[in-house]
């Protein structure tokens, strides 16, 4: 990997890790379990839709999806190196991990861009 990009990747890793640490547990509990399973009264479709129509909400959601993906890309890359001893596949793994994060972020940006109310 080119050296000058390393600090940027580390910054994305730590920003994404902080976003995930602060916000994922509550969203995972509510959006992943409590609302689908009816433990708590789920917000109605219309109110969620209008909430997401707001630009600030969409910016929030873009950050919420994209930064943790870069956090994953960075950490998972080293998990593969250390855990599975795949040091010889360095370039391939890096391209696949960061590439997936870029694709996911672009898809999120495209989706949210088209969701203005």
């Amino acid at each position: 990997m080119a050296r000058p990009i390393t600090p940027l990747l580390w910054l994305l890793f730590s920003a994404g890790g902080t976003v995930a640490a602060l916000l994922f547990p509550v969203h995972l509990f509510l959006n992943g379990l409590a609302f689908p399973l009816g433990w708590l009264p789920a917000p109605r479709y219309e109110s969620l839709r209008s909430l997401v129509g707001h630009p600030l909400t969409r910016l929030y959601l873009l950050v919420l999806v994209s930064l943790p993906l870069f956090h994953w890309a960075h950490r998972f890359r080293y998990t593969l190196y250390d855990g599975l001893q795949l040091k010889h596949l360095t370039v391939l793994i890096a391209v696949l991990c960061y590439g997936a994060a870029v694709v996911g972020s672009l898809l999120a940006a495209y989706t949210l861009w088209n969701m203005s109310s």
Binding site: F24, V26, L28, L37, Y45, W72, Y78
Partner: protein
């Protein structure tokens, strides 16, 4: 140390212990390290799940209801419960490491680790409460 290290005459082989892929099960701290590394898989899983929900929300009420129905399946309930456990592990280890990763100084004095970690936990509680308040309102 294994006893079957073989040497060829005049060409002593370097002794390199072969490390098993399961090296991290040898001690508790190694296991903790690998489990912490694995939290990233569940972080990515939930980021994708969020994106899936957002896209369904854009596709209309029926699409959104279908996603909620899929999330009620045993597979997704199990995955989400597992992901929640790993994500919580990520949060706790992340906040506890924060004072070591980022040394904060105030008037030339280092802010105690406990205070830095405490500030992280406080932000966690406040933000979680805010998200829950917004989502539970309607």
């Amino acid at each position: 140390m294994s006893a079957d290290v073989r040497y060829t005459p005049y060409h002593p082989r370097w002794y390199r212990r072969r490390v098993s892929v399961w090296w991290w099960l040898e001690s508790r701290s190694y296991t903790g390290f690998v489990l912490r590394e694995l939290t990233s898989v569940f972080v990515a899983f939930f980021a994708v799940l969020l994106l899936w929900q957002i896209r369904a929300l854009g596709h209309g009420p029926e699409a959104y209801a279908r996603v909620l129905a899929r999330l009620r399946s045993p597979l997704f309930v199990t995955l989400n419960a597992l992901a929640l456990a790993f994500v919580l592990f990520h949060s706790i280890t992340w906040f506890n490491l924060a004072p070591k990763a980022m040394v904060v100084r105030l008037k030339g004095k280092r802010v105690p680790d406990l205070l830095v970690a405490g500030a992280n936990y406080a932000a966690w509680v406040v933000l979680s409460a805010a998200v829950a308040a917004i989502l539970l309102r309607g």
